[in-house]
Symmetry: C2
Subunit: 216 residues, 2 copies
């Protein structure tokens, strides 16, 4: 398909598609004349993923480029590609100015939690996923703002998300036929389900608060 | 305590504390001289909440002011204040430019899900919480980006978050002695646990992907 059809089918403006091409977020099409190129279904899929990352996930262009590089890295096996792409997803919200406070306590807590779960990360190393750093920062913020949490407080959340991860991966297998499509689906679904989860949590809390404190 | 001590104990720069006072995010202290005011523990608590909202939650100053107004509204009973404060929490990430696409299908799906759960919202009305709009937008984004989800796909997430909400409210009761403190804790914990949840989800997915596709 031509650029105009790619734009129409994806709902992304042609100027934006051209911007993504220039920024290397979308591979170039197959050139057919000096001024025209041909795009395939893989471009459409990739374009949807880029929009999920940038528009829903709040990920920067530079960070999206890194995630896509992990996704396209042929030197990794399927599991490694999938894990690396999801791990390397940056947290959309930039850390606050003093989030750099020493997170030693938070780090120990995160390590003990992961050990308890048997999630096999152990203390941080070079290959520690960004999601681990995100967890440490979040635990440190709770501590700093007067709501210290113990490993026991965190465990129910981790167990519940562990069970939901099975469901997440079932969806990945459903949407992704080929290994390439599966890796793309894993990244897109990770990002796209985040606001679903956060919204459902707030509704669930309001419901539980009504049950517990409601007068009617 | 004086402003300098409030700043020291909260870890928030005096210039920032003054900015929050000017913006009405922090109630004024008790004036003791023409140039000095006295602040109490309630100021410290409120300051921590404001930082949770703005720095961790990515909420704007204007939106934080609205949440705090719901929290201070004496015309509401405890459950209503708690529910309203959590409901009125805006989603930190601004919606993308075309998130305004007709969400009729997404809305029907959200309504059927809430009905199935018995969460008692029914179709959107004037008092529908922002979290409902956040859910509809998130479902519409999944649909638009080629990953349509059914009510059955969403149900396991909702059930899991429903169970976690009991745990959330246990924490609220533990941290909040007085009803005022409970409402503040509910808002702070809702925001502060969001990155914890998202980080644990990514780690859980990587773990599940290793189990399912890993070669070692």
């Amino acid at each position: 398909m031509r650029l105009s059809e790619l734009s129409r089918r994806s709902g992304v403006a042609t100027a934006t598609v051209k911007f993504y091409l220039r920024e290397g977020l979308l591979p170039p099409g197959r050139r057919i004349t000096a001024t025209q190129a041909e795009y395939g279904e893989e471009h459409l899929r990739r374009l949807r993923l880029v929009r999920a990352l940038i528009q829903v996930g709040g990920v920067s262009v530079a960070a999206a480029r890194e995630v896509l590089a992990a996704l396209d890295d042929d030197s990794l096996d399927h599991n490694e590609r999938l894990g690396t792409a999801v791990w390397s997803l940056p947290h959309g919200r930039p850390a606050g100015p003093d989030e750099a406070a020493d997170p030693a306590t938070a780090r120990r807590r995160a390590d003990r939690l992961l050990e308890l779960l048997g999630w096999g990360y152990g203390p941080a190393t070079e290959t520690t996923p960004p999601a681990y750093g995100m967890l440490v920062t979040a635990i440190a913020a709770l501590e700093r703002l007067g709501y210290p949490c113990t490993v026991e407080d965190l465990e129910p959340y981790a167990r519940a998300l562990g069970r939901l991860a099975e469901h997440d991966l079932d969806l990945v297998e459903r949407y992704g036929g080929t290994p390439d499509e599966q890796v793309e689906a894993a990244v897109a679904l990770t990002v796209l389900y985040e606001p679903v989860l956060l919204a459902l949590r707030r509704l669930a809390e309001a419901e539980e608060s009504r049950r517990r404190f409601g007068s009617h």
